[in-house]
């Protein structure tokens, strides 16, 4: 026992002697990471079991927040439904579009120009672009979309895109898809450029005779790390949908039609100051994205 602990101690001393400069290199980041990432995650988990309104100290209430959340909070269920609908559509779709566009761009000259065109929407300020979309989807006949549809004869009366329960979510999805050629898109593009030519040549010798086979048997396996990164990003960003939804339809939105999990979190946390309850929402969201993230890790490591 004592021997074990002295041995461990000497290992620590060895590691320190050998690597102390390196530990010092990492120290500033680690301190900030612990304070602003690790501690908040642990605090969120703890607070989710308490009642906390920021005026009195947190009061332990066990699983009550979770019980309330899943059994009695109908608005949360709407938020979950909206978020799932959003994620199921935009997650895979944005992933596929990003990869497909990257694949085609990789074959073109003036790649930089095409890359910029598709990437630009994702770096425009969300708040600035929502203003533009408010013009385009404007509820009256001054709205460009309404005008066009009336002109073409598809509708006779302007559609209230941003207040109608049935159109809010589709509008949010369209704007999000438009903005979704982001980091993953660049990662795919760079990944495609880094696949060694010899592999394609070897593939042809092995009898690959069309582009689809080439993508499936050569490109995709080589690009697994980039594809996994893209998958993780797609999952995280599609489940965290909030900003566009909030700017298009407000918090809370008409009949909660644009209400998402993060919107629910925001509403309870920063409008009603129910920090314990909001933390429970955060933990649920964290759990969903983490499980899906691990699942995609598994998926990508099996397909060798």
């Amino acid at each position: 026992m004592i021997q074990g602990s002295t041995r461990r101690w000497s290992m620590v001393k060895d590691a320190w002697r050998q690597y102390h400069t390196m530990y010092l290199f990492m120290l500033p980041f680690i301190i900030l990471f612990v304070i602003f990432v690790i501690a908040p995650v642990l605090t969120a988990i703890y607070l989710s079991f308490t009642y906390f309104n920021m005026l009195e100290p947190p009061k332990w209430i066990g699983l009550s927040n979770y019980r309330l959340l899943f059994l009695e909070d109908d608005v949360f269920l709407i938020a979950v439904k909206n978020t799932l609908l959003f994620a199921i559509i935009t997650g895979p779709l944005s992933y596929l579009i990003s990869f497909t566009l990257a694949w085609f761009i990789n074959r073109l000259r003036m790649r930089q120009l095409y890359t910029l065109a598709f990437y630009a929407p994702s770096i425009t300020s969300g708040i600035a672009i929502s203003v533009i979309f408010l013009y385009l989807f404007s509820n009256d006949r001054y709205g460009v979309l309404n005008y066009l549809l009336i002109q073409v004869g598809l509708i006779t009366e302007p559609i209230n895109w941003l207040t109608e329960q049935s159109t809010i979510m589709p509008v949010i999805i369209i704007i999000s898809l438009w903005m979704s050629m982001g980091t993953s898109f660049l990662v795919f593009l760079a990944g495609l450029q880094s696949v060694p030519m010899e592999l394609y040549e070897a593939g042809m010798v092995d009898g690959i005779n069309n582009s689809l086979q080439e993508v499936w048997y050569i490109t995709l396996p080589v690009m697994k790390p980039q594809l996994l990164f893209g998958a993780v990003m797609a999952i995280v960003s599609s489940f965290a949908v909030f900003q566009i939804a909030a700017q298009v339809s407000g918090v809370p939105s008409p009949l909660y039609a644009g209400h998402t999990i993060v919107a629910h979190l925001y509403m309870h946390g920063f409008i009603q100051f129910e920090m314990g309850y909001a933390s429970a929402i955060a933990v649920v969201l964290f759990f969903i994205t983490y499980v899906l993230g691990q699942l995609s890790m598994r998926l990508f490591s099996e397909r060798t």
Partner: protein, 294 residues
């Protein structure tokens, strides 16, 4: 005979990975459609107010004017804080965050990339990759409580310091640094250079594409960030451009002061586009390394 020629042609077609004219046409149309809202934004910023309420609505501006930009400055003047203050806040917070995160994440990435056998390095990197898997929104409440406890609410520190713990930068730098030849570092050590000097004089110049990429992402992220300043600031003096935009616009779903808002949209979008265009070539050298090996 005919079979061999066909085989040869096929070989040629695949080897010259040239797109067909049809592909160019389709991709160009798609690119233009994607750019439409941005073109509309630029065009609207220069529209005189009468043109904004034209019926039928016009997509492009007929008689461009800079009146909207003047109105933007005037609209802000009726606020307690001048436009330049929001601009300064945005620039200062972005510059400090970018500098800080490049330095801190590069420093932390170097040991992870080049001394993977260092005790704790593997575990730490696993934690970093897991941290990529949750949205920052998840930790916003406790982070707010911590920032509050540290007395950083409504200060520049509150807008800058928490952002330095961003995990993507560290992840990217580590992945890129891994491909540096270890012999180079060993050789410098034999010559008697300290780790500190090796880092600044050998490693950092070699991974320039990576940290330039990080500058772009960190700048765009901070510049566009709406949520953090919304929660961490209280006084008008500490607010950044995205918050200013939402106050002159009049809130979600409402569009007031059309002209000023349209001008502000352009002002706020331009810097991110410019910085990306200027530094784009470095991004492509870096992004292939942004993969997760499972």
């Amino acid at each position: 005979m005919s079979i061999t020629t066909r085989g040869k042609n096929r070989f040629k077609r695949l080897i010259s990975r040239e797109a067909s004219p049809a592909e160019y046409i389709v991709m160009t149309i798609l690119a233009l459609v994607t750019l439409l809202p941005i073109v509309y934004m630029v065009s609207t910023a220069f529209k005189p107010i009468e043109e904004m309420f034209l019926y039928p609505p016009r997509f492009l501006v007929q008689h461009p004017t800079i009146r909207n930009f003047v109105e933007l400055l005037l609209a802000i003047d009726s606020f307690s804080v001048p436009f330049t203050r929001y601009l300064f806040n945005s620039l200062f917070v972005a510059a400090a965050t970018v500098t800080g995160s490049v330095v801190l994440s590069s420093l932390a990435a170097y040991p992870l990339a080049k001394y993977p056998r260092m005790p704790g390095a593997k575990l730490f990197f696993t934690i970093i990759v897991s941290a990529l898997m949750f949205a920052p929104e998840v930790t916003q409440i406790p982070r707010y409580l911590i920032v509050d406890k540290l007395g950083m609410i409504d200060t520049y520190a509150g807008l800058i310091v928490p952002a330095l713990a961003g995990t993507y930068g560290l992840f990217l730098m580590k992945q890129f640094m891994e491909q540096l030849p270890t012999e180079l570092i060993e050789a410098a050590k034999v010559d008697g250079a300290s780790e500190w000097r090796i880092f600044w004089q050998i490693v950092m110049p070699l991974v320039r594409p990576a940290w330039i990429t990080l500058i772009i992402f960190s700048f765009i992220g901070t510049w566009n960030d709406f949520f953090t300043p919304l929660i961490f600031t209280r006084s008008e003096q500490m607010k950044t451009l995205p918050l200013m935009m939402s106050s002159i616009g009049g809130g979600p779903g409402i569009v007031a002061r059309y002209g000023a808002v349209a001008a502000a949209s352009l002002v706020i979008t331009l810097p991110t586009l410019i910085i990306f265009v200027l530094l784009q070539r470095y991004v492509m050298q870096t992004m292939a390394y942004s993969g997760i090996k499972s």
